[in-house]
Amino acid sequence: MNNWNRDQMAARVARDIPEGAYVNLGIGLPTLVANHLPKDREIFLHSENGILGMGPAPATGEEDFDLINAGKQPVTLLPGGAYFHHADSFGMMRGGHLDICVLGAFQVSVAGDLANWHTGAVDAIPAVGGAMDLAIGAKKTYVMMEHLTKRGESKIVNACTYPLTGIACVSRIYSDLAVIDITPQGLQVVDIIDGLSLAELQKISGVSLKQKH
């Protein structure tokens, strides 16, 4: 079996973003999704720091220190984009105007609880940024993450042990092994890598899974 690599995961997410969607891509892995958005679809990228219609990274030497994304990397603005202040930007998010938000995660529970901001380690310095606003703001929150921790533990859990970012907010998980919907009827596997069975995926995951019909 071959796990999807990061670009394959990003492409898989990108495939599911429809034309006209307003989308926020979280810091880290989700940022890659921007590189895979179908060129024939107009999709509107929102950045928490007051940008709608965010474009790709600028050419070397063209970077503008006043035009950065949430990860503080230089970006561009598409024709038709707009700037606004922080309260308006988070109002946009909190008010349910974004169609999709894609976030990384430490853990996602079967109920859709998300833990992605803090390991809870006693000596760790916490930092939350926009994670909690993003988790609960969009119409759909997707998580994009490795299926297992480096120690081989499932990041899909019955109940999060890490501090929560949001409750019952995740609707879909894109991992390197599968695409899984979180539904009131439990986890439903939408897609799975070649060579891996549902039974094997369930064993790895340690949570109850069903095939989506």
């Binding site: 220190f65 035009l67 603005l77 760790a124 930092a127």
Partner: protein, 234 residues
Amino acid sequence: MINKIVASVEAALADIQDGSTVMIGGFGGAGQPTELIDGLIAHGARNLTVVNNNAGNGETGLAALLGAGQVRKIICSFPRQADSQIFDGLYRAGKLELELVPQGNLAERIRAAGAGIGAFFSPTGYGTDLAKGKEIREINGRMYVLEMPIHADVALVKAETGDRWGNLVYRKAARNFGPIMASAAKVTIASVHSVVELGALDPEVVVTPGIFVQRVVKVPRSASGAAPLKKEAA
């Protein structure tokens, strides 16, 4: 004639008191009023509470203000970064109090102060450690957390262009916290790269009307303006 243009950063900051709450604009490097922060370090006011999205990067700007021991408490959303070593050290040593606030609640709490809202129910953070001890309420089937406004004595913001009435426009995503912080402070001091005649700013495009701004000081663009990314912007 009203003229809010002040000749120097030093003059603009002269009356800041020890113990003040100071909002500082910016998201990372964009919109950070570097010259005003340097001025505050030179001024030497101590025991400050600072409100900013971050807690300083590298060794300059807000990081330097923290390093100078002038700050008692910081209210921010994202202190920990690869280059937040000055904050990290002070925090671990127990020398700096941290109030960690989700970024949208931070922005809305600042906006609420400016708009005279007594408190508001936000869905953000419900059920998390950052809502611990806060009042919660179910409204129309959704859970919310009661959040209080954040007022400030002084706001330091970076804008692009200003006039003598204090009207401001910003540049690109450097706008970020500037407009709401300007509204939430008793005294707002704005650095600008350009001062224009009254009426030169289109009334349709003024982002911060002068009512929210007490002092405007011109600073050269080279020191803080848009430029190829610098190391501290990472």
